[in-house]
C-alpha cells in the first residue's frame, strides 16, 4: 500500500479577480522507503500541493481531491484534531529558509523538545536525552551545549540540521523536504543532501523532495514528478526522465540547463507548454 496517495488534487485560492487554480488535477503516490522528487518552476504548484496534503494552507484555499490518503486513512474527512496528531509525527516537513522557520525567541533545544512533548509525551529527562541523540544523528557537534543556543547563534547549514532533527524527532513515515538546500552554499548543500539520504535509508522513510534544481533531482530521486502551472507534465523514474523524457516541457527544461549547453546561446522555454498540459 502506498504511504501517501493523492488523486486529482485541486487547490483554488479566492482572489479579487475570481478563483485562481494553483494546483489543477495532480495525482501521485509515494511508497515506503521511496524518494520522490517534485520538480517545477515557481508557480508550478509544487509546494502548494504538499502543503495541501499537510493541511497547512490558509482558510482562503479550497482543497478538493478524489482521494487524499495517508497510510490508508483519508486526510480530508478527518477532524482538525485528528489531523494534527498525524502531521508533525508521521508526516514531517522541512522548509526552504531554515533561519526563518525556527522561532527566534526560543532555544533550539526548547523547539526540539516541544515536538517530543506534544507527540511522544516524554518526561523532561527523556526529552533531553532524545534531543541530544537527534542532534548527534544530524551531525551537530557538541550537542548538549548546542541545545541551549538560539537560532541566530547558528549558521544556515546548522539551522537546517536543527530543522531536520525536529522533523525526524518522532520517526516519521514520510518526510517532505520543500527546497531544503536552496538557501545554502553548494558545499553545505552536499552535506545536507547526504544527511537526508542517509537518514532516509536508515529509517526506510518515504521522502518527497520538492526542488527546482535538476542537479538535486539527479543526485537524490528514485522517481520524479514534473509540474508546470499546476499540472503534472510527466512522471517517470529518474533514469528514464533524464535519458528519455517524454513531455516537451521536460525536454526543454533539461535543454535549458547550462551543463547541457552546446551552442553559443541556451535554448529557452516558451509559453507553448500550457496547452500541452491541458491536453493531458
Amino acid at each position: 500500500m502506498a504511504l501517501l496517495e493523492i488523486e486529482n488534487l485541486v487547490v483554488e485560492f479566492q482572489t479579487a479577480s475570481g478563483p485562481f487554480r494553483a494546483v489543477n488535477g495532480v495525482s501521485m503516490k509515494v511508497h515506503e522507503g521511496e524518494v520522490l522528487a517534485i520538480v517545477g518552476e515557481s508557480g508550478s504548484g509544487k509546494s502548494v500541493s504538499m502543503l495541501a496534503a499537510m493541511g497547512l494552507l490558509p482558510w482562503t484555499a479550497k482543497v478538493t481531491a478524489d482521494k487524499l490518503a495517508f497510510n490508508g486513512r483519508d486526510l480530508l474527512g478527518m477532524s482538525a484534531n485528528e489531523r494534527r496528531k498525524i502531521v508533525g509525527k508521521d508526516i514531517a516537513m522541512i522548509f526552504q529558509e531554515p533561519i526563518a522557520s525556527l522561532n527566534p525567541c526560543f532555544t533550539v533545544g526548547f523547539q526540539i523538545e516541544e515536538v517530543l512533548r506534544v507527540h511522544m509525551g516524554l518526561d523532561k529527562a527523556a526529552r533531553r536525552k532524545r534531543a541530544i541523540e537527534l542532534f548527534e544523528a544530524v551531525g551537530i557537534p557538541d550537542p548538549a551545549e548546542r541545545l541551549n543556543h538560539y537560532p541566530h547563534q547558528m549558521s544556515g547549514g546548522q539551522c537546517q540540521r536543527v530543522m531536520i532533527a525536529i522533523a525526524i524527532a518522532c520517526n516519521p513515515k514520510l518526510l517532505i523536504a520543500d527546497e531544503p538546500t536552496t538557501a545554502l552554499d553548494v558545499t553545505i548543500q552536499k552535506q545536507i543532501l547526504d544527511l537526508l539520504m542517509k537518514l532516509q535509508a536508515e529509517h526506510k522513510m518515504g521522502l518527497i523532495m520538492i526542488t527546482h534544481n535538476m542537479g538535486v533531482v539527479a543526485e537524490t530521486a528514485d522517481r520524479v514528478v514534473v509540474q508546470y502551472k499546476g499540472r503534472k507534465m510527466e512522471e517517470a523514474d529518474v533514469l528514464t526522465l533524464f535519458e528519455n523524457p517524454k513531455s516537451n516541457y521536460t525536454r526543454a527544461l533539461l535543454a535549458a540547463l547550462p551543463d547541457n549547453a552546446t551552442g553559443d546561446r541556451l535554448p529557452t522555454i516558451s509559453e507553448l507548454f500550457v496547452d500541452e498540459g491541458a491536453a493531458q
Binding site: 553548494v186 558545499t187 553545505i188 542537479g215 533514469l239 540547463l257 547550462p258 551543463d259
Partner: protein, 275 residues
C-alpha cells in the same frame, strides 16, 4: 585586446569597534587579490558566502574603498578614498544586484528608474532621456508599453531585465553582476544569460560575474577566480580551472556540485542497489 580592469593586491579590512566588555577586532575580508580583465571578456568569481566576493564587487563598483592595493580602470588608477572621482569615472562601472525584488524602487515607474542615472550623472535633455530609455527597454526584450508601469507588475525575470537596462543606461565599460540569476527559475535563467551574452556582443561589454553556481560559470565565463576566506585560491582560464583544479577547495567545490547527467545517475543507482 585592451585591459579594462586591473586589480593589484587588493586588501579590505573591516574594523569592528570594541565596547565595554568586548575588544575591538579587525575582519580581513580581502587578503590581497590581483587579477585583470580584458575588454569584452567575462571574469567569474566563485566562492561561498563569507568568502569576500561581494566585498570585492563593492570595491570594483567604487562603492567601498580598498584598504590597500591598486585598482585600475582602463589603465587609470582610481582611489575613491581620496575623493577625486569625476562623474565620467563613475559612469564606467555599473552593477546588477542579486535580488530584482529588492533592487528596484517600488514607487518609481520603470521609465523613471531607467532615466534616473541620466538625471543624476549627465545633463541630457528630458526628451532625449526618454528616447534612450525606450531604446534600452527594447534592447533588453521589453516593450514601450512597459515604460509607465511599476515594478510589482513584472515577474522576476522581467525585473532582472529592467535592472540590467538601468545598469546599461550610462554606457558603462564594465558591468559587475552580483549573482544575477541565482534568484531566477531555470527557464528564466536561460533567457537572462542569453540576454547578457547578446548585450556583451553588441556593446563590447566586460563582465565581472559573481556566482556560486558552477554550471552557470562554466557556461558564461572566460576566466575563473575561486575565492576562499578572502584569498584567490585559484585563478586561470575557464578550461584550465575546470579541467585541472589545483587547490583542494576548488576540488571540494566541484565534488559538491550536483551533476545532472545520465552517467552519474546510473552510478548513483548502482551504488544504492549494492548497499
Amino acid at each position: 585586446m585592451s585591459v579594462i580592469l586591473e586589480a593589484r593586491n587588493l586588501v579590505r579590512d573591516y574594523h569592528i569597534p570594541g565596547g565595554l566588555l568586548k575588544k575591538a577586532k579587525t575582519v580581513h575580508a580581502l587578503k590581497g587579490v590581483s587579477f585583470s580583465v580584458e575588454q569584452g571578456k567575462t571574469l567569474a568569481i566563485v566562492g561561498e558566502s563569507g568568502c569576500g566576493k561581494s566585498t570585492l564587487g563593492r570595491i570594483l563598483t567604487l562603492i567601498d574603498p580598498a584598504t590597500s592595493g591598486e585598482l585600475l580602470i582602463e589603465g587609470k588608477k582610481i582611489d575613491i578614498a581620496k575623493g577625486d572621482m569625476t562623474p565620467e569615472m563613475r559612469r564606467k562601472v555599473q552593477i546588477v544586484f542579486q535580488n530584482p525584488y529588492g533592487s528596484l524602487n517600488p514607487r518609481q515607474k520603470i521609465g523613471d528608474i531607467l532615466m534616473e542615472p541620466l538625471v543624476i550623472n549627465t545633463d541630457t535633455p528630458a526628451d532625449e532621456r526618454r528616447d534612450r530609455a525606450m531604446t534600452m527597454l527594447k534592447k533588453v526584450g521589453l516593450t514601450e508599453l512597459h515604460f509607465n508601469r511599476y515594478p510589482h507588475m513584472f515577474s522576476g525575470g522581467q525585473r532582472q531585465r529592467i535592472a540590467i537596462a538601468r545598469a546599461l543606461m550610462l554606457n558603462p565599460k564594465l558591468l559587475v553582476l552580483d549573482e544575477p540569476v541565482s534568484a531566477l527559475d531555470l527557464s528564466v535563467q536561460a533567457q537572462v544569460l542569453n540576454l547578457l551574452a547578446d548585450l556583451q556582443d553588441e556593446f563590447k561589454l566586460t563582465y565581472v560575474f559573481i556566482s556560486h553556481d558552477l554550471s552557470v560559470v562554466r557556461y558564461i565565463a572566460d576566466d575563473v577566480m575561486v575565492m576562499y576566506f578572502g584569498e584567490a585560491v585559484e585563478y586561470g582560464s575557464r578550461d584550465e580551472v575546470f579541467a585541472d583544479p589545483k587547490h583542494s577547495y576548488t576540488k571540494t567545490l566541484f565534488a559538491a556540485t550536483p551533476r545532472a547527467d545520465v552517467a552519474s545517475i546510473k552510478a548513483r543507482l548502482a551504488k544504492k542497489r549494492a548497499a
